[in-house]
Subunit: 212 residues, 2 copies
DNA sequence: CCTACCGATCGGTAGG
DNA sequence: CCTACCGATCGGTAGG
């Protein structure tokens, strides 16, 4: 059925090559800055060659978002899952996130911060994909908070969604200010605020795993 | 000296007309989406007419940022200055900010959220103008916190910059999530978190002016 | 010599 | 993946 002539494999390799570059460009200049002509020139391919791999500019943007989700999952969500559920995992998740932003896994900082701001007030499939990515991330944080509550490590009256909102706000803003002003002090502020907030929400006798 | 032939006045009026539209477009689609041809078409002017008013696309972007700063100052900073310095003014500043975002003074939400994300990782005069606007806003929040501390309404050991960072994070994220998901619950979360944070930082016996 | 525009067009590039 | 093109639009400027 499938002719093994190397063309499909070569296409997949080129596709990965293109996506490695598009997540970088999009994190710095936005998803609208992804143009087929520019990618072709930079990667020494033809415009129509790049175009054929994705079919449209919108598909290129959607594939770039999927690639960013993949990288983000591998760098933040997967390692945090190695820590047992509870306050320790929640704290680890926040630390991994700050390290993901600070180490510039994407050269323009958190990929989704830029994508959210770029497409938040528009409509269409790209907007929807960005909304889904943010919703999944918020839901993941809420689930991690809920695990800690179920494990008895948070006060009984803890508002899970409220705590998750505050953690996301501190993380996201650390990234935003750090990239904008090209300095790292915002990460320290976020870390201090998160530790303080978790300390306040922790049940009696539950210490934070690694206080800063 | 100045010939009163109405042409200068007409130019100023057209300039204000253009800027009223550019802050709207930029808040939804970004500062790069400002094109002379599009503005000319929408406002039924000639391209060269629009062009002559600003001299270059970059000047159009810079003028748009200045106009947004003017509107922001009028809507948020100026009304807050009517409340006497202290915790009351700080709380009022946060409330005015949330109302500025929620009422969509700019149709795409806070103008500077989008501009920051768009130009944070680039270089040049537009980047610099955005950095300056954010720095001015952070400095204003810090000054307002410092006033409250000086007035004896905050605990002596309060870290002014840390508190300002946390307030900015909660405000900014309320705007971001509200615009992205087109719903208002994030404003309530920010309000709850800010009230709680200010309650924790308040000196003994100092009540919050309007608890939610 | 100034301004605020006009219709037309410059060299290049966009998505397809 | 290629060359060869399209309709349109980009930022910017010409003379009047």
């Amino acid at each position: 059925m499938t002719r093994v002539d190397g063309r499909v494999e070569r296409g997949n390799r080129t596709r990965r090559l293109v996506l490695r570059r598009t997540v970088e460009i999009a994190s710095v200049e936005g998803l609208e800055a992804l143009t087929v002509g520019r990618l072709a020139a930079e990667l020494e391919l033809s415009k129509s060659g790049v175009f054929a791999l994705f079919g449209s500019k919108q598909e290129l943007q959607l594939a770039t978002i999927r690639e960013a989700v993949r990288i983000y999952t591998e760098r933040v969500l997967r390692p945090a899952a190695e820590t047992p559920p509870g306050l320790g995992r929640l704290w680890r998740l926040c630390e991994l996130w700050l390290e993901y932003s600070r180490s510039r896994v994407f050269p323009g900082g958190c990929f989704f911060y830029g994508a959210m701001a770029e497409f938040d007030a528009r409509t269409g499939p790209v907007h929807d994909a960005v909304v889904r990515a943010q919703r999944d991330w918020s839901a993941h944080v809420e689930r991690t908070v809920e695990e800690a509550r179920t494990a008895g490590e948070l006060r009984a009256g803890t508002d899970v969604a409220q705590l998750a909102f505050e953690l996301v706000a501190l993380l996201e803003t650390a990234n935003a200010l750090s990239v904008l002003h090209d300095e790292e002090s915002a990460y320290g502020r976020a870390r201090v605020a998160i530790a303080e907030r978790l300390r306040g929400a922790a049940a009696e006798g539950v210490p934070l795993p690694q206080s800063p």
